[in-house]
């Protein structure tokens, strides 16, 4: 199950203990992780930011956790994830789940082929212990060995 996640997080997609002052900065980092791991072009970062600006902080899906994503588009080269943890939590304007400490970037090539990935992501983030572990992690190898 979890190796699905490890594969979805390409080289360059994990950015830990980052310092950001706004939701936009966190989205830029989540987007950068997708770009550096060759899953998207930089246009996708703008699409994620635009989606948040249109529909607001509904992307904060659980206490402290945001799922940054746009729609499948030409800017998506391959399905993948990025993972950003914040050294200081950032207020997103969520009704129930502010402030945010963990941002997952998601790019999908279509509407169906990433379903296994979403199931694995759901299993992962359902565990508070796991989320706390991710938030405390200071290097990428810690995170990768946890996911394998």
């Amino acid at each position: 199950m979890s190796s699905v996640l490890e594969q979805a997080l390409g080289q360059g997609s994990i950015k830990l203990q980052q310092s950001c002052v706004s939701w936009k900065e966190t989205f830029e980092l989540a987007g950068l992780g997708l770009v550096e791991s060759s899953r998207t072009t930089s246009a996708y970062t703008n699409e994620m930011i635009q989606a948040f600006e249109e529909l607001g902080p509904y992307m904060v899906i659980a206490p402290g956790i945001a799922l940054a994503h746009g729609r499948p588009s030409e800017a998506v080269l391959a399905t993948g994830l990025s993972l950003v943890t914040l050294s200081t939590p950032v207020v997103f304007g969520s009704i129930a789940n502010d402030p945010v400490s963990l941002v997952i970037g998601l790019a999908a090539v279509d509407h169906d082929s990433h379903i296994d990935l979403m199931a694995a992501l759901s299993e992962l983030l359902m565990s508070e212990d796991t989320v706390n572990f991710l938030l405390k992690a200071t290097n990428e190898s810690q995170v990768r060995s946890y996911l394998i």
């Binding site: 529909l55 129930a96 199931a119 359902m126």
Partner: protein
């Protein structure tokens, strides 16, 4: 269709409904699709920020704050199904 929140919510709602022994068809949709195709839905699961965009639809709107919290989903679905 949605690719993010709605997919997670669909998966977890299906888990809960199965545990409750309730047969249901759960469809993931973004706001546009929900408004276009969701007329026949008995229940519309969403998150608090999007409730305002779905008001006026025939189905009961159930707002889930924490999409990984199966207890919250179960409690709110049970109440909506009464």
């Amino acid at each position: 269709m949605g690719i993010g929140t709605s997919v997670l919510l669909k998966m977890n709602a299906e888990k809960v409904l199965e545990a409750m022994g309730i047969q249901a068809e759960v469809v993931a949709a973004d706001i546009t699709k929900a408004k276009r195709d969701g007329e026949g839905a008995d229940i519309i699961l969403t998150t608090p920020e999007l409730v305002v965009l779905l008001e006026g639809m025939p189905g009961k709107i159930v707002s889930i704050e924490h999409v990984f919290d199966l207890t919250e989903i179960r409690q709110k679905l049970s109440a909506a199904l009464l």
